[in-house]
Amino acid sequence: MQVHREREAFRKLGVQPVVVGHSSLRYAKAFVDETKIDLPVYVDEKRVVYKALEFKRPLLAFLNPKVFKRAAEARSEGFTQPGVHGDAFQLGGVLLLMPDGSIPYKYASQFAGDHPKLEDLKAEVKRALA
């Protein structure tokens, strides 16, 4: 996960990155144990928040040429995908939430492997916190 690699950079910008997944607590704990991820991890077991944020769940999420391109790019960056737990069709996204409840930034993945570029994300954070 690229944000994990850049977590200190985001913390220096003044935001705390956290991870939310949609499978079960069991898989979330296994994920933390295996990856030693240094970020808070939360679980939305029934995808209630995913749905409320209108993150996509396209049934043809994998039949997009961009998925294969992103998978190859991810592999070249050292990321692998050992398996999928939970709803395989559910896509993710990014949300910047301020203490006052405002949401200055939201990104919804359009296909599997789609996520904002780190530099774009940092720029959005800087703009929101300026």
Partner: protein
């Protein structure tokens, strides 16, 4: 929507708003754990 609940790894319910109440928070909603 920020008042919807997620669970921490101890199984406790918390809201996005609670998590972000003291600091701007970047929530990364992953497609899968792994």
């Amino acid at each position: 929507m920020t008042d919807l609940f997620v669970k921490d790894l101890d199984g406790n319910d918390t809201t996005l708003a609670d998590i972000a109440k003291n600091q701007p928070t970047l929530f990364i909603f992953v497609r899968h754990f792994g």
